[in-house]
């Protein structure tokens, strides 16, 4: 079980809106039909390719 501090260290950004995960509310970021759109590690927009039965989401900077 990781702590909230550890989680924020690993994923400091919201993958729904790209803003810092710790400083704003994210309850409305990303609905049931949304994929992640921002890199949780660096906050950049992800390259998302949606396929009929799945999707890929890749950050152009983070490994």
């Amino acid at each position: 079980m990781i702590t909230e501090a550890q989680r924020l260290a690993l994923a400091p950004y919201c993958d729904g809106c790209g803003r810092p995960a710790a400083v704003v509310a994210h309850a409305h970021c990303g609905g049931a039909t949304d994929t992640p759109r921002y890199c949780a590690r660096c906050g950049r927009k992800l390259a998302v390719q949606i396929l009929p039965t799945g999707y890929t989401a890749r950050c152009v900077r983070c490994p």
Binding site: K45, Q49, I50, T53
Partner: protein
């Protein structure tokens, strides 16, 4: 009562409701929605049959679009979360394979563009050939406004159907798109028909149009007489000018489905984007027994859809067979 008129005119004679009659259906009270759906289902069964056409779609070029369609998160003019990407050919073929595995007979290649440039045409050329060689499925395209030369090439490639949505009523179009005109879309649709491809032309409900404008759109579809009408419900996307519009209430969506079926008795009327948000599981079932006879299975271009198996299970539970490939050729 409009439903009595529709029973005689549409169900018995196969003549779709005109604009004024469609508006009457759209104005029916909630207590009449079930009756409208029942009649729409009878019309669909009588003039289209019980089969359901299943389709998958994929974006071959996502985002970075120069147009300003106010509903679309792929416009490069708005600050949306969508990053521009292109799909490689092996992944495109795999997407077609996944789609065929669901029992789908249609696979639509979509690009976020005003119209195709040579780079996109080359990608489509290669992609259609690769899919045709590897997967048994009809290939459709949705690449925006076409020149005659591009249309001729797509037809020669074997593209079975071409999608180009009118999106909304002509009288409302300027509130939705300013970078091209409704008439430009209409011209491409006429070209598609002239070149022998099937015409797929849909719209999005819930973009601030009035009920009269919904009826107008239905009448404009009827005048076009497309092979297929995909019916979308607005899923307001962050960053777009329509981000703050409210989703269409479920009863309005169901009333719209019934009205469009009564205006278009013989058309393939497809459940497309936004139904998960607007209708949920119960509404999806009501729509399938309310005039709909085709579905997009799986995911959409920038959002996720239902698990394809859920839709296939729903069709099985309704004793609605999936249309076979041999019957679409």
């Amino acid at each position: 009562m409009i439903l009595d008129i529709a029973r005689e005119q549409v169900l018995e004679r196969g003549v779709g409701l005109d604009e004024a009659q469609t508006l009457e259906v759209l104005r029916l009270g909630d207590d009449h929605v079930d009756a409208a759906l029942e009649l729409a289902h009878e019309v669909r069964m009588r003039w289209c049959g019980p089969e359901v056409e299943v389709e998958g779609i994929v974006s071959i070029k996502t985002g970075g679009c120069p147009e300003d369609c106010h509903f679309c998160s792929q416009s490069g003019r708005f600050e949306t979360p969508v990053r521009a990407v292109r799909l490689d050919i092996p992944s495109l073929v795999e997407a077609a394979r996944q789609t065929a595995a669901t029992g789908a007979t249609e696979f639509c290649i979509v690009a976020a563009v005003r119209g195709p440039d040579e780079r996109l045409m080359a990608q489509v050329r290669e992609g259609v050939a690769a899919i045709t060689a590897a997967v048994e499925i009809n290939v459709a395209c949705s690449l925006g406004i076409l020149t005659r030369e591009q249309g001729v090439e797509l037809a020669e490639l074997g593209v079975h159907r071409y999608n180009h949505n009118l999106e909304t009523a002509r009288s409302h179009f300027g509130h939705v798109v300013t970078t091209h005109t409704w008439e430009e879309r209409w011209e491409t649709l006429q070209l598609v028909r002239e070149l022998g491809m099937e015409v797929c032309c849909g719209g999005i409900i819930g973009m601030g149009e009035t009920l009269a404008q919904r009826a107008e759109l239905a009448a404009q579809f009827a005048a076009l007489d497309p092979d297929e009408v995909p019916l979308n419900f607005l899923d307001p996307r962050p960053g777009t000018p329509f981000a703050d519009l409210e989703p269409v209430p479920a009863q309005d969506a169901l009333r719209t489905i019934a009205a469009f079926r009564l205006a278009l008795p013989r058309t393939i009327l497809r459940f497309a984007g936004g139904r998960e948000l607007t209708l949920g599981d119960l509404g999806a079932r009501q729509g399938m027994v309310g005039g709909i006879n085709a579905v997009i299975v799986g995911n959409y271009l920038t959002t996720l859809g239902r698990d394809p198996q859920e839709d296939l299970d729903l069709l099985a539970s309704l004793s609605m067979p999936v249309k076979e490939l041999s019957k679409t050729l």
